[in-house]
């Protein structure tokens, strides 16, 4: 019973700054929920309200079926991993891990037993006598996790815990965290600004911007059906192509932008997109470079190994990007023709940025 429910959660700082503007969220028991968004979007403030370090201006928070708004952080049954890890520098790794048990006045023999068990799980048994400053980044990370899970909290909160690690270690730790989630079966709420982290780890993702929830969905749901242009461009590498233009329907459908005109399958165009200014969003893997379509000129090539990114322009200096098989060879200056796959087009309202369906 460790679901989390947020109802109309609002946090204002002073009169003018609204960090979180009404978040509604249901995290079910055992779910891995990732909260993602650019810096300043309110994701950390949301987490701090769940943990109890910030008091919400209004709204209700439930953990299980208990309202926790006025509970002390320590009484909420949470574990938390902090961005700076927040290990106690004056204590050994052993004492760091044992801290939660010491607070509960656990008997010494049990403390030893449980610390060594957790240390084995986290593969840090050899570090127990060291101080945190003597541990490497990855080791310190494991110590912080061990310290958090030893009290077996039902909910684990994580505030960008991997941001201090180098790229390789970060990817290793992602797998580690997922494994840990499988093992513990507790509820995870994970805050990050890294869309790749969110995509790879989450059961569901909540996307936030400027204090508002943009979308809550599974990683693939968000990738395939972004609810607005912000979400569409936030997820995916390279960034989704966005082309302003109009759909014109005179017998067959045509997408008309300043630079080019492209015929598209009529059944892929939502009715609400007809006859108004739209932004067409197309991911690089949905751009086909072939024998037909609009013409463009290759400007840049970025080989990724298995695939190649082709940046091309048509008419002006805005680049579009296509992801093509690495077998195909292009070089800057090549003239190409491109088209968009029918299922890979997203239509966003030019004014509101909302998805048109």
């Amino acid at each position: 019973m460790a679901s989390i429910t947020l109802q109309k959660l609002v946090k204002k700082f002073g009169e003018t700054v609204t960090a979180v503007a009404g978040v509604d969220l249901d995290v079910s028991d055992g779910e891995f929920m990732v909260v993602v968004g650019p810096s300043g979007c309110g994701k950390t403030t949301t987490l701090n309200m769940i943990s109890g370090f910030e008091e919400p201006t209004s709204g209700t928070m439930l953990i299980g079926d208990r309202v926790v708004n006025h509970l002390e952080p320590g009484d909420r049954g949470l574990g938390m991993v902090f961005q700076d890890l927040a290990l106690f520098p004056h204590m050994t790794v052993f004492e760091n891990i044992a801290f939660g048990l010491r607070v509960d006045k656990t008997a010494d023999t049990e403390v030893k037993e449980r610390v060594s068990k957790v240390a084995t799980t986290m593969k840090i048994s050899h570090l127990l006598t060291k101080k945190p400053a003597q541990c490497s980044g990855g080791e310190a990370q494991r110590v912080a996790l061990a310290r958090t899970i030893i009290t077996e909290p039902q909910v684990l909160l994580m505030d960008e815990p991997l941001s201090s690690l180098d790229a390789k270690l970060r990817i290793e730790m992602r797998t580690e965290l997922k494994r840990l989630h499988e093992e513990l079966k507790s509820t995870f709420v994970y805050v990050t600004h890294d869309q790749a982290e969110a995509m790879t780890m989450a059961d569901r993702i909540m996307v936030m911007e400027s204090g508002y929830v943009q979308q809550i969905d599974t990683p693939l749901g968000i990738y395939r059906k972004p609810t607005n242009q912000f979400v569409g461009t936030f997820f995916g590498q390279p960034t989704m192509n966005i082309i302003p233009g109009r759909i014109e329907n005179s017998g067959s459908s045509n997408f008309v932008s300043e630079q080019f005109e492209l015929g598209i399958a009529p059944d892929s165009v939502p009715g609400s997109a007809l006859g108004k200014d739209i932004n067409l969003g197309v991911r690089s893997e949905n751009v086909t470079i072939g024998d037909e379509g609009a013409s463009g000129e290759v400007r840049l090539i970025e080989p990724l190994g298995d695939e190649t990114l082709v940046f091309f322009s048509c008419g002006n200096e805005d680049f579009l990007v296509a992801k093509v098989d690495a077998e195909r060879e292009f070089s800057p200056g090549d003239n190409i023709r491109f088209s968009f796959q029918p299922g890979g087009m997203h239509f966003f309202d030019a004014e509101s940025g909302g998805r048109l369906e």
Binding site: G79, M80, F82, A86, G100, V103
Partner: protein
Amino acid sequence: MTNDANTRAEMSFAKRYNLFFWFRHAALMLWALMIMFPIFWMISTSFKDSGDWVTWPPNWFPSFIGGGYEPTLHNYQQIFTIVGHGESLSREVTEQAFTIWGAVRDSMVVSSISAFIALLLGTFLAYSISRFNVGGKYFRYMILTIRMVPPIIIAIPVVMYYAILIPFSTQAVLGIRISMIDTYVGLCLLYIATTLPFVIWMMLNFIEEIPKTIEHAAQIMGAGRIYTLRRVVMPLVAPGMVVTFLFIFILNWSEFLLALTLTQPNVITLPILLNKFQSAMEGRLYGPQAAIGTVITVPVVILGVLIQKHLITGFSFGTIRK
């Protein structure tokens, strides 16, 4: 060609750097000499007999390194044994027949007790200012402005307060006349009040070195505020507390003006005793005065060296990589 040019450029840079290095060190040496000279003079005078105190030209060095005066421990004997055995002391001083020991005791008691209490109060105040924003945004700066008031401005009203207001009101309310003048408590209270701004200011720096997340981590594991303070915050600021204590101790140890106005004859701190070794009849007793001065200075120098060591660890203790 280019290699040559590079080497030349490097050489001139090295030369310039060298020049700057020597200039900097020369300036610092000169400055150190100016600071050290009175201390040197004090120490050497403390080993001179009365005949050598004011000779001209001065006798710079003791005879065993080829100087002009015969070093003697006479001054030290005088101040450490009962004053009055010395033939050259004034009647005024002899009548009171005190030794330096009483003043050492008074100075130790007053300086350490008030430094300890100020440290305790100041640490908690600094914590509340840092973590709960007590007093508002600018409070920490306002605290320091208290130090802009010259001590003498405090001293006079406090004398009236201690000598008149408190005795009269205790007489009226309790029926006993309690005077705070010339007592440990009176002097300690004032020292605590005057040094508290320093304690708060210094401890603020140490406390703010501790990331809030470290306390949050303890709290979310169920630790209460007191437990967190005792097990997490205190151990981390301990070096800072040592430094602050020593710093405040030194301030109290060498304080003169407030002690002069608020004490005597019962409580006599070392700087006050120093001041007493002069009289209208015999003038300044430079030898014993220099000896007392040396005795006052030595612990301060030792503490200063200790502080220096702790200042480095104190200010640079790393929490965890950010």
